[in-house]
């Protein structure tokens, strides 16, 4: 495998982005690119749709809650289920050139169960074993909240002990000083061709601007692809701008979304998983669809016409979806229908957004980033607001 930075583009207080080539045994991948997530793959199966979701990179991002971590340590059945589920996803994602899975403990799980280094070590051991058992050929090392110096120590041990290539994840909310302490070690690994990817656990950009700046300065010329995982679907504070399209111009070459929030509307902060009586007050205010012209994921209520239906039908190549989307109000009282709409929304978003990232890459690799941003008003203003701390 070989990774090479083709071009980096930056404008102070506005944007930073780059184009990177990753040579794999299946061919060359060009970044920035959107990776396919397990959530998007499941969405397609839920509708179900046969449209291929072409994805050079696929990733599973599993948030480990406090309860999950506790079960990981104590419950054999839970561990076996995790392995089986990962094996199943590995099979379904087999057409991607690169595949990875991240088991990332939540901040509360770290506080509850991984406060001591010996527990952090145990968590890493367990999740590494789990990935190996599932046959993954890239192994991720989650961020478990070590100090920078201890992290380097652990990375060294893991790098020397694992047979497959590790992807070490850093947390975007690490302080700039911590990033500056860890990055020379990772850059050494990259220079000696031992790692080709650097993982980055996404956090809201406006809360981590100084760290993003430190990450960009540390790695902008490094010949390793930065995988940014767990990116929020959209940002209400930035006119529903897609998180993937914003992050592309902050830091990250391979972008993996955390598409949990499908229907979060103005009047329903969170939809319970299994409500006793299923009811969505107004599907028009909760169903969100990706708009490739504005790069936003806004509610259909905010659209001025039903043109979005044609866009979805054309992208997914299924004419019968028109009937489903026109009957969408039926999903307000039917969980199964609601799940189908969820699936359509996510599948459409992946395909349409992935194509749009490809378009942006053309501009970036030719040094024409400003021209691209000039045509994307919401993104342009979003980047300015984020960088000035206004969002």
């Amino acid at each position: 495998m070989r990774v090479r930075v083709l071009r980096g583009e930056e404008k102070k207080y506005f944007y930073s982005t780059r184009a990177v080539d990753v040579q794999t045994r299946d061919g060359t991948l060009h970044t920035p690119l959107r990776a396919l997530s397990q959530s998007e793959l499941d969405a397609k199966a839920r509708v179900p749709l046969t449209v291929p979701m072409h994805a050079p990179v696929s990733g599973t991002f599993k948030r480990m809650s406090s309860n999950d971590v506790s079960r990981l340590f104590l419950d054999n059945d839970f561990v076996e289920n995790q392995i089986q589920s990962l094996e199943n996803r590995r099979q379904r994602m087999q057409h991607s050139s690169l595949l990875f899975a991240l088991f990332q403990p939540s901040p509360s799980a770290i506080a509850d169960h991984l406060a001591q280094d010996k527990d952090k070590d145990k968590f890493l051991r367990m999740t590494l074993r789990l990935q190996q058992e599932a046959g993954m050929n890239l192994i991720t090392v989650p961020w478990v909240g070590y100090s920078a110096s201890r992290a380097i120590e652990e990375f060294k041990t893991l790098e020397s002990e694992t047979e497959v290539e590790p992807i070490f994840f850093l947390d975007q909310s690490m302080t700039p000083d911590e990033i500056k302490e860890v990055s020379p070690y990772l850059k050494d690994l990259v220079s000696s061709d031992r790692v080709h990817f650097i993982g980055l656990l996404h956090r809201p950009v406006r809360k981590t601007l100084a760290s993003c700046e430190a990450l960009w300065s540390s790695f902008k010329d490094t010949n390793a692809a930065i995988i940014s995982a767990g990116i929020e679907r959209f940002d209400e504070n930035l006119d529903d701008l897609s998180g993937i399209h914003l992050k592309e111009f902050i830091v990250g070459d391979i972008l993996l979304a955390d598409v949990r929030r499908i229907f979060v509307g103005e009047d329903t902060e969170k939809v319970p998983k299994k409500p006793p009586e299923f009811r969505i007050p107004n599907i028009e205010r909760t169903l969100r669809i990706f708009d490739k012209s504005t790069l936003t994921i806004s509610t259909i209520q905010s659209r001025h016409s039903d043109d979005w239906i044609d866009d979805v039908v054309n992208e997914l190549g299924e004419p019968q979806l028109k009937h489903i989307l026109r009957s969408r109000r039926e999903a307000e009282t039917d969980k199964d229908k609601y799940d189908v709409l969820t699936g359509i929304s996510k599948t459409h978003e992946y395909l349409s957004s992935q194509h749009e990232v490809q378009v942006s890459r053309e501009f970036i690799s030719k040094g024409e980033t400003e021209e691209y941003l000039g045509g994307k008003t919401v993104l342009n203003s979003g980047l300015q607001r984020v960088n000035r701390g206004l969002s």
Binding site: T50, Q91, D336
Partner: protein
């Protein structure tokens, strides 16, 4: 000698000698040889030759979808695999028997736990050579659809592909032992 064509529930027909001769000469007149059941399995696996199909259920459903959604609409003539409604939806005894014969004949390699979702079927070197000839003779748009939809089907996984098949080809769901797991979702009836 039989005077009437007999037909079994799976669509298998018995011909007398004269009828068979006339049937075969009909095929000859049309020129192109139809794809045999073995060819169907070969071209399906060849469409993404470096990636296996996991599990017999997936393989069976993918052969079914290939026939229904690519070969039939494109007018590609095939031997009828005789799909019938069975325990997990559409099933062809011909395809299953052919698959097993192809594994024994070393055209297909099978690895992983047998009869599980982990059993991987992939073409061997000999299988690739034989499949290549069949595949290359297909019209370009058929080849393209096959390469693309193989990805689309594989991504569904067993659960997703069953959901798709049960929803779209309802008549094959009749004998399914697991049909209760797959709900019919009918749109256009108004709010419940």
């Amino acid at each position: 000698m039989r005077t009437q064509i007999e037909e079994l529930p799976d669509g298998t027909k018995f011909y007398n000698f004269d009828e068979l001769e006339s049937f075969l000469s009909g095929i000859k007149e049309k020129g192109e040889k139809p794809l045999l059941t073995e060819d169907l399995v070969l071209i399906l696996l060849y469409a993404r030759a470096d990636r296996p199909i996991y599990g017999k259920t997936m393989l069976m459903k993918e052969v079914f979808l290939m026939c229904e959604e690519i070969l039939k609409p494109e007018g590609v003539r095939t031997q009828d695999p005789r799909f019938v409604p069975y325990k997990y939806g559409p099933y062809s005894f011909n395809v299953m028997q052919t698959l097993e014969t192809m594994v024994v004949a070393n055209l297909i390699a099978s690895s992983g736990k047998r009869n599980s979702r982990k059993e991987a079927f992939i073409l061997t070197g000999i299988g690739v050579k034989r499949a290549e000839q069949k595949f290359e003779r297909l019209p370009a748009d058929v080849r393209e659809s096959l390469e693309s939809l193989r990805v689309g089907w594989d991504q569904l996984g067993t659960h997703g592909i069953l959901q798709y098949v049960y929803q779209k080809y309802e008549r094959y769901k009749a004998e399914s032992e697991i049909k209760s797991r797959y709900k019919d979702i009918i749109w256009g009836r108004g709010k419940a």
